[in-house]
């Protein structure tokens, strides 16, 4: 169940090249990290499959965000290494990493009055320098990113005047403008309406499957992870408890182990994806509601 082999992504569905051996550009080797004196990650070994959506799930405080930050070079590991193309991420140049790996953290700050186009243009930062100023390539990347994220219509409006979902699309477009093959997102769908969450996940799926980008997404919503992940990683107490294709590991047992959640897992006929339905504890009979 807990084999560290992305080759086993034998899921059904539309993910391209699944089941075939895939390469991996991003890996964690006995990675340990934490904040001050509180260790969070406890010797994580993980190989992120290329061109897929990898979802990290787990209860609050399990270390999924910490893992993402350590992989993205935001947090210094206290032990082990995060490898990008075989090179230690933390001893690499920040800018070099940023040219290969994009990150959308939780709770980015929208500067007051910044327009959508200006925000997305910030994604070009790692490609620019004092000498190399704004070029046609930058302009094109920004336009493409805005098109992909479907925000071209309000390109000149201030980001802080948009809805939560539109705003999140702008941030994703900013990361897209960075033009990296690897994109790490920390809970991109939290606080959004279900329909908006689904739209965003469809956009991200398209990035992985049509553009062959590698996405690692921390997700809070279990059913969203089950519906969209190509490779699912379940964490608890700083360790990976279970990993693999959704169909293989998303079941009542693992949900009980990882989340201490009593739930039934059923498979949706339309998508072929598993869905978890929590079992309510019934100590007493529910109140009888009389309608009419």
């Amino acid at each position: 169940m807990a084999k560290d082999s992305p080759n086993l992504i034998g899921i059904s569905g539309d993910a391209p090249a699944v089941g075939t051996p895939t390469a991996s550009r991003l890996q964690a080797k006995t990675l340990c990290a934490g904040y001050d004196n509180a260790p969070v990650l406890d010797g994580i070994d993980l190989t992120i499959p290329d061109g897929c959506i990898t979802a990290l799930v787990g209860p609050n405080g399990c270390g999924k965000s910490t893992l993402l930050k350590t992989l993205a070079r935001i947090l210094k590991p206290s032990g082990g290494t995060a490898l990008l193309d075989g090179k230690d991420v933390f001893s690499s140049n920040t800018r070099e990493v940023a040219a290969k790996l994009g990150l959308l953290p939780q709770g980015p700050v929208t500067p007051e009055g910044l327009t959508v186009r200006e925000l997305v243009a910030q994604g070009r930062f790692p490609h620019q320098s004092l000498i190399r100023q704004w070029t046609r390539a930058d302009e094109d990347a920004v336009n493409r990113a805005m098109q992909t994220a479907d925000i071209t219509d309000f390109a000149d409006r201030p980001v802080d005047s948009l809805s939560g979902g539109q705003r999140q699309r702008c941030w994703i477009a900013m990361v897209l403008a960075q033009e990296t093959d690897l994109i790490l997102l920390d809970e991109p769908t939290t606080f959004l309406d279900l329909k908006v969450q689904v739209d965003l996940m469809n956009l991200l799926t398209q990035l992985a499957h049509a553009e062959r980008r590698t996405l690692v997404i921390v997700l809070h919503e279990l059913n969203l992870a089950a519906a969209y992940a190509d490779y699912l990683v379940m964490m608890k107490n700083g360790k990976i408890v279970s990993r693999g294709a959704v169909a293989d590991i998303f079941n009542a047992e693992t949900l009980k182990t990882v989340f201490d959640l009593d739930a039934t897992v059923i498979v949706d006929n339309a998508s072929g994806r598993p869905v978890c339905v929590p079992l309510p504890k019934r100590h007493v009979q529910p109140p009888r509601v009389v309608y009419g």
Binding site: E96, L103, V109, T115
Partner: protein, 342 residues
Amino acid sequence: MADVEEVARPTNLRRIAPAGAALIMCVVIVLTMAVHIAVGAKQLPLSTVFEALLHKNDKVFDHIIIWDLRLPRAILAVVVGAAISVAGALMQGVTRNPLADPGILGLMAGASFAVVTALNLFGISSPVWLPVIAAAGALVAAVVVYGIAVWAPGGATPATLTLSGAAVTAFLGAFISLMHIMNEDGFDQLRVWLTGSLAGRDLGLLIYAGPPLFVALIAGLLLGRQVTVLSMGDEVAAGLGVKTGHLKLMLLAVVVVLTASAVTLAGPLGFIGLVIPHAVRLFAGSDYRLIVPFSALAGAAYLTAVDTVARMALQPQEISTGLVTAMIGAPLFVFLVWKKTR
């Protein structure tokens, strides 16, 4: 460079508009300076001012007034106004705190206190050392204000930072007053170090405070791009390849040098660093690549205009420049707080 020429039209337009605006503001600065020079105990026509500046004639008394007395003060206003405004803009960007300003966060009081202590207690009046002493004072004050805010319940929020800055400013202000009373110094000196003034300042200081100020100003302009990225959050910035810790230290150094040089030259002129960047944002947007240079230009014009008012309003008396900046700045500050917390 070939790829730069191919840039699409909209980008060209976006580049030309700021350049035009900058040009207009430079003209405004020159005109404000001309008016600043023209008014005073002896009113001079603008034509004389420009004539003196373009063709100096040592035999004409008005030309000597202009070159020896009035032009230096106008230059001081331009330099100090630019420095304080850029310091404020950078502080607002890096702290993501709309109320950040070297005066409000106590840096100016720290610099002022250090200079007054050096002058009165240690008898150091060497123009070489005063900017350095001011910088040390500004740095210590910044660290203390930040420390108090972090230690307060809720951590370093705009509110706790503003409060701790106010407390530190009031505390140091008391000592500045005390030292002047004990030394029976002139009221003129006291008002310079409590509220800031451009009157009768020693221009010799500009030789020593000017170069670091200029270097810090250039550094601030060059860091604008990174400040924009930093204003979107530390993690976003790090994800885009900014060395955030490194950048913050550099910005702290730039802000401390700008504040210290400005205070050495003119004392703690309040509210300019707060108000100017906000005014600039109204037309320049939220990108610090534009906010920083336009803050420099607008700050220069603003302080020159304010100083003109200070010299004119109660003729033949002169109001301290710092009083006028506070009279105009404080209501604007209240307005900003009201607007941000609404």
